[in-house]
Symmetry: C2
Subunit: 348 residues, 2 copies
């Protein structure tokens, strides 16, 4: 049992807090732009079935995931209408777990090995993952029809193609972002025709309104946003912060109890309003506030990249604003963390 707290400033720190007003704005704005199945929300950023239920309540019943654990967790939370593992997997036990979970599950394939592993382990539906210039997964475009044939010959239903323009989603200049997206989607559209199946799954938060070629957009970060996405000209608001407690202050710097184990650092340091961040240690953030702060004060820390930040935390605390005296309305479990997909109890 955790102690009951009533306000953000009463939380044991570090803790993740969600602004429900901003979250609702983000979810509603996206639903208006991409209603129903036009959006296939990606759960990898939030890893939270309670948040996914808010997305489902707005009409998005098809979801994207990055790990088998996320798929199994979504299925057991009753969100299994149409789940896409937008990632490659060759492990028999995990593929079996996907095949056996109470959901419609589609798996990305981009090689003979991934097609064969899917077919051998009970998977029924696949998308052919096509490289659209991001140097990561995805087959060469010219390989896609052959892989689709191989999949169909093995008894798999090929629902279409996917391709992630991840090299474009964070480009600050809108025209350049659009040009790179169009270029990537021209490749994907050509392949989609040859592969068949109808689905063209692509896109992310940064390209949600630029990618008009895809039949569905896999955006996920839009729900909570982060430092990097907030630099773009998109209508979503920062909805997630880390609350930390000041544990030391002197005339040159201040330290809060929120460090490398509370936030992803791949996009650089977090930010603190009215302060300059100096550096981050395992359990400490050293910064210079521009206003007076005292030991015991709470501060809000804005992580540069939410995905690897949330993955460190067990829960999200919801308040109707990110004022320190805002009331905690509800607490959600970050229940899709880790990688256990086989045999683990994922009941919601």
């Amino acid at each position: 049992m955790l102690p009951r707290v009533t306000s953000i400033a009463g939380l044991p720190t570090p803790a993740l807090v969600v602004d429900t007003t901003a979250l609702a704005h983000n979810l509603d704005t996206m639903s208006a732009a991409l209603p129903g199945a036009r959006l296939r929300p990606h759960v990898k950023a939030h890893k939270c079935t309670s948040l996914a239920k808010e997305q489902a309540r707005r009409g998005h019943l098809h979801f994207t995931a990055a790990t088998p654990r996320e798929i199994v967790g979504m299925a057991h939370a009753g969100l299994g209408d149409d789940l896409l593992l937008a990632n490659e997997c060759v492990e028999p036990a995990r593929l079996r777990a996907l095949a056996d979970c109470p959901a419609r599950v589609t798996v990305a394939v981009d090689s003979d090995e991934t097609v064969d592993a899917a077919a051998a382990n009970g998977i029924r539906e696949v998308l052919v993952d096509v490289n659209v210039y991001l140097p990561r997964c995805g087959c060469r475009p010219e390989d896609a029809p052959r892989l689709a044939d191989r999949a169909r010959a093995a008894g798999l239903d090929v629902r279409g193609v996917m391709g992630y323009e991840g090299h474009a989603v964070l480009i600050a200049d809108r025209a350049e972002r659009e040009a790179k997206t169009v270029h990537a989607m021209e490749r994907l559209a050509r392949v989609a025709e040859a592969v068949g199946g109808g689905l063209v799954s692509a896109g992310g938060t940064g390209t949600y309104d630029l990618n008009t070629a895809a039949t569905e957009i896999q955006a996920g970060s839009y729900a909570l946003m982060d430092g990097d996405y907030c630099k773009l000209d998109i209508p979503f608001r920062r909805a997630l912060a880390i609350v930390a407690t000041v544990i030391h202050t002197n005339d040159r710097w201040t330290v809060a109890d929120c460090g490398l184990k509370a936030m992803g650092m791949d996009h650089g340091n977090p930010s603190v309003d009215d302060a300059d961040v100096l550096f981050v240690s395992d359990e400490h953030l050293t910064f210079t506030p521009h206003t007076s702060v005292h030991v015991g004060d709470r501060v809000l820390v804005w992580p540069a990249h939410i995905d690897p930040t949330i993955a460190y935390h067990e829960r999200l605390h919801l308040a109707d604003s990110l004022d320190l005296d805002a009331t905690i309305i509800e607490t959600w479990s970050v229940d899709l963390r880790g990688w256990d997909a086989v045999g683990a109890n994922r009941g919601s």
Copy 2:
């Protein structure tokens, strides 16, 4: 229940694997250099009571921790002979949890607020944390005697001082590392005399044999080591890797299923033997191997910084070497993760 696996290559990935031969070498080498209470192993890097028991078995019965949760977890695992929270805490409920746990607990203080909070919430023993040039916690040296008096007047037993030369521990040049350590410890020794109590707690893996002024050394990384510490002239060996599965390969790059949520990135990219790492995404590592690899192959990934790496994982798998066909001997829980210290069941 997780599936039983017999070799590193049979683990669901990403997974942390520990080389027990290197671990034993590291633990034995450190115990020979700093026997018994000369070493107060820091548990923040490994966050694992099973590993702490190996340290205790070699005669180190006093431990250092960075969070109240680590302290409470160590106490409930039967490792509570003498636990130091080498960090500041002002939260009443957590200080009460420390005071109530079945252990001798000493807490660092560096301000009026931290002294008063300790005294008001049942803490019995403190160390005065002194700034020794790392811009983080620790009082000014001239404040330490006054804080010690304040603590004693409030009924606290002042066991001595601590000061962390964290700005020195990773300096590659040994002479410069030593000079910065000596400079820091000269300051701490002066304060120690004025504060009294006898304990002078300091040091880390990089300065374990250079810091001769401290009565006890708080090293932790030496047990498993990491990319940055391995660049130093110290006799400890890399004992921790992440095993990942190759899920995509082409004639220009290869992708394994191990990303930003499986490793700390504050010290930069991880490394892969015989390969160049290109970039890391949420669940992917893109690299160019110098040898032929195939989809389904396993690779070992060496994290640049182990502390925020281990904090992402639920368990450590032990093998007697880091060959992919090495047998898994045992699996340890990373049971000191997160920050819940109050009311959580931390029984071992």
